[in-house]
Amino acid sequence: MGNRVAIVGAGMTKFVRRAQETGKELSFNAARMALDSCGLHLDQIEMVCLGTAPDTFDGVHMKGEYLSDGAGAFGKPYMRSFVGGGTGVFAVAQGWYHVASGLCDLCLVVCEEKMSTFQPHAQAAFLTIFDHITERPLKPNLLWIFALEMNRYMTTYGLRKEDIARVAVKNKNNALDHPAAQLAQAVTIEDILQSEVLAWPVQRLDVSPVSDGAVAVVLASESVARRVTNKPVWIEGVGWNLDTAYWTNRDLCYPRYVEEAARMAYKMAGITDPRHQIHIAEPYDPFDYKELHHMEGLMLCGRGEAPQMTLDGITSRDGELPICPSGGLLGVGNPISAAGLMKIAELFWQLRGEAGKRQVSRKVKRGVAQAWGDLMQVGTVVVLGI
């Protein structure tokens, strides 16, 4: 479908709790690194896609326009998108159709987030996702929806907290080998289980941190990609899907919207047996249970089977199907839209065999990245291959 599109370069800032750099400066640092990594200059970039959170987050009107200079978008066709936490992966899908359509040969994709600006805590910036008439008068906080979904998932499949905490242990330990990681920690299951209870069953160490950071990748058409690099990583499939906003009417134990997004991407990539045709995955893990949830939605295992796969070590870096070898959001950090694009960047490095100590032990040729957001509603999926 469309012309072939490859990722040819990637860059990112460190993820930190509070960056002194402005969003523009973070965007520039990531974009410049991505361009340098493939020897390109901004003059050669024809179009720019930017992913970043709504303006209320930063207190800056039309934040996309504010960030445009840092994202290298001055004087170019430029579009900002935001689909909640799903943005980082969606931005690549958006960049993909800019190139696959033949509209341009080189497109820069930048995702930036600076969550530290919102006072006193960025969590409150999300309160307006609850229905303003039927839910907000109950004074909800953002943790509620995750805790409700996690409890439904655990109860449906009879899971214990340790079955889920294992994901946080794996990812935070994986992040020890990531140079840009914010929360790399050699933690144990006991550490997770003994951490402060926020909204049961969600405890402090089940949750990814608040972060500032930016990530960028360069997309190229086939002919240009082959001139720029001898190791292009192809975008084999893209998919995105949105479930109903009536979230209390849905089955919270299964992310149907992720499955729909995955089916769209897999069809494009010619994948009929994801468990065997995908060798590495970076599903979205803002909470430890979400990695499991999303593995099931991505059809990398059956419903309710992800915890057992994790227990069996299949998802570890040297396992049969490494999941979040980067360290994920739980370990590297969660600057919302940038976190999703970090996953794409990780697959880019892993598929090229450049991930150093993070490199998975098996030979990997195809990977899937996925992100998720809003009222547990958005699924975005990109399949990459060499």
């Binding site: 207190g59 805590h121 909800p140």
Partner: protein, 182 residues
Amino acid sequence: MPKRKEPTPTVERSIAAPPYGAVASGLSDDDFHKGRVCTTHWAADARYAWDSGIAIGRYLEGLKAGRLLAVECRKCHRVMIPPRMFCELCFRPIDGWRQVKDTGIINTFSLCYVTWDVKRIKEPQIPAVIEIDGASPGMGIMHLIGGIDPKSVRIGMKVRAVWKPAAEREGAITDILYWRPF
């Protein structure tokens, strides 16, 4: 005048892998809040007032009268709550209104020990999704559980709405105080 602090890069780890040379100057809470770097503050005064719309307006009037109202679609045979003027599945107007019971089943719940800005509270709030009796299976609303020891709340429990006294109701979701297991 506090001495200006040069930004300190976060701890360098020598990991030979991309992203090579990733930077961002991490600031501590003290750097930021005690004026070691220059900051500027601003508070938005954003105020809103919403009309409640056609379907939710009628839902709220029902609550004021102590009744829980749902809508039905005769094409997909769903009885839906919260009410809506169109069936989002069939993409056609709904066919009618019906009163459903003020009882239901806990679909899922949480024991929440923090406020929206992560301040601890001692007695947990118990948010829940409650599947309403008389609506289609799985049709729930978000509300609060109360009148029970938090430790004994379970998924699958039957609950009943505890209403505000009629004179105090104002046509809001909070006209139901909470849902008590029975």
